[in-house]
Symmetry: C2
Subunit: 377 residues, 2 copies
């Protein structure tokens, strides 16, 4: 058992060119960001006032999020579709312009490389809006090795999210009423200051909202400022993906709940594994073998009976009543909705039984929790 990190005083994050700022960073800092993380070698805000206060505001008003760190890996050229399909187990053959495809990227061992949203911009052009790993390097390696005619690069695109129940009102003020017609996980090109860019109804919260794929950096502050002005009537604040809201909303986080050591099946993403489709992807054999041998693990929520007043900074081991280790807890927080600690864990499939009691080795000792379905009902 590792000890609790000594977080007082809390270490700061050293600035450096390598930890890239974004076109919106000046505004994020002017709005009083108090904590950052690093995501795809770029700054991502994690807290403004407090995680709890940010949460309550997100659930009732509207926030503007600098999610530039959702880098776009652009794949372009005659073999772009083939290369993109090689990387994911999800069948992209019927993908159409205007759809956002959540797609696990899986390696030849069946391990998850990333879980981007894929946007098909044209027959020969895709954006992979990635989580935190250098997908570009994998794509470049595959393209070179398979001798594919596809260019792979990080596009000069900086997503800005508008999230919360009032997001549509704010977006309609800036982009016009037609933004209301965009359906969930669909995108349209929308004009801003005469420049067309991709706007999707998506975002890493369950409060509703949009993501604007800003592909003209020079418009960044003007875009922020117009959204900010439009949001004044709705108590807009700067915000960021919220640790509590995303766990309550059963949103998985790559690097936390999914890693190269977990398969899409382990993560409850089996519905995106299209082995029945006539498509070529590098993980096919490994994922078929996993099915043939019988799936081993499943993802679940664990609900504790009390608050723990901490986050999860390393995996915590999960045990059954016989003190047998059955899995690991990968994310968690004191849930506001449940009034107790709520977690995401991966456990041996045979142990999955709703409401079953398990024991978690926390930094403060063993604690009881109950298994709950994922996503939570």
């Amino acid at each position: 058992m590792t000890s609790v990190p000594a977080l007082s005083p809390v270490p700061t994050l050293s600035p450096a060119t390598r930890v890239r700022r974004t076109p919106f960073s000046d505004r994020v800092e002017a709005c009083g960001v108090t904590a950052y993380t690093v995501y795809n070698h770029m700054l991502l805000a994690t807290v403004f006032r407090s995680v709890e206060e940010d949460y309550k505001h997100l659930c009732q008003a509207v926030q503007i999020w600098d999610v530039s760190c959702e880098r776009q890996v652009e794949i372009k050229g005659p073999d772009a579709a083939r290369l993109t399909q090689l990387m994911t187990c999800r069948d992209l053959s019927k993908a159409k312009y205007g759809q956002c495809f959540y797609a696990p990227l899986v390696d030849e061992d069946g391990g998850m490389v990333n879980d981007p949203i894929i946007l098909k911009l044209d027959e020969d052009r895709f954006w992979l809006s990635i989580a935190d790993s250098d997908v570009m390097l994998w794509a470049k390696g595959l393209a070179r090795g398979y001798n594919l005619d596809a260019k792979v690069f990080e596009a000069d695109v900086y997503p800005l999210a508008v999230q919360g129940p009032k997001a549509e009102e704010v977006m309609a003020t800036v982009f016009g009423d037609k933004v209301r017609d965009i359906r969930f996980f669909r995108f349209e090109k929308m004009a801003f200051e005469g420049h067309e860019m991709v706007v999707a109804r998506s975002g890493w919260s369950k409060q509703g909202g949009f993501e604007i794929y800003l592909d003209r950096k020079e418009l960044a502050l003007e875009l922020w400022d117009q959204i900010w002005a439009a949001g004044q009537a709705f108590d807009i604040r700067a915000g960021c993906p919220n640790a509590i809201e995303r766990v309550e909303g059963s949103l998985l986080s790559y690097g936390n709940d999914m890693t190269m050591g977990t398969s899409p099946f382990d993560c409850g993403l089996g519905k995106y594994v299209n082995l029945e489709a006539d498509i070529d992807f590098v993980a096919r054999d490994a994922l078929q073998r996993e099915i043939d041998q019988g799936l081993q693990r499943t993802i679940c929520h664990l609900l504790f009976s009390e608050k723990l007043n901490t986050g999860v900074f390393e995996n915590w081991s999960v045990f059954d009543k016989a003190e047998q280790q059955i899995g690991k807890l990968t994310s968690g927080c004191d849930s506001i909705r449940h009034g107790a600690f709520l977690a995401i864990a991966t456990i041996a499939k045979e142990y999955w039984q709703n409401n079953e009691t398990v024991f978690v080795q926390t930094p403060f000792g063993s604690r009881e929790a109950r298994i709950a379905s994922f996503p939570m009902e």
Copy 2:
């Protein structure tokens, strides 16, 4: 020109499983780390007391550095040598067990992917001790695409560095006098608590020292504690790569001074581009083309006439007397040795002339600086 980041109050770094702790993190925190960065999805300390105080101590005593974030990408199997060579422009054909090979990894466009030290552990087994990018994904992509028989994975290895003029004394106390026989950029297997592990005379400072490639996590705290005890006679402190010492020492940093947008020639690494060798690497055509078309850029130091009381958090543009942009400044600090701001910059080759005056657009306005050779004489 972007504005200076508002760093008061300085944002903290949010802990999360995704930003991995190391087997030494408890000791690093007990020793009072005050700032972190994230490097290869892992914590790396950047400051303990202050960058200046840490610098002075490093230059006169000995420090223990948790550099676990120097992840080891292990390449193993019949095609391991071929795959490793594909990734780098440096001729590895004569690499021998016991040598540390500094090797730029370069993509098919001639852009730098990383600049690891490569350790040949056996004819069919290599470690790439990497800087901050997911080299493993690129290696896996190439291995799959070229259908190579080589396993690529992140080894369970956590480097610990002992750096400073007293490093050899401390190491000899822990590992015995034979550690003194290890030459610069060579490694030997050394026993600790009955377990043999790789110990190299290397490290990311110019003060001398060693890196211990701990490959048995359970020994981490015992190793730290024995070094700590042995160091008491030499005023040992916990430390980390130092922003001032590394710029003064002309040590390049991947992600800062080198990126996928720069070639090894741009970074002054031409001597590691072995186009004359009969070896196969993916960057060959691009690097040959760069030579044929004439090299465009060079790396240099820029020495200012005064201190600036800041670091470099975004590239600063460099101009000649005619206000023509000639390059960009990528790292810099107030040098203690020079009593003025010292930087690393990439400039158009035609402008390289020692002692030439240039103008740098800093966050505080334009400042004069003089070009100095790299590495500094």
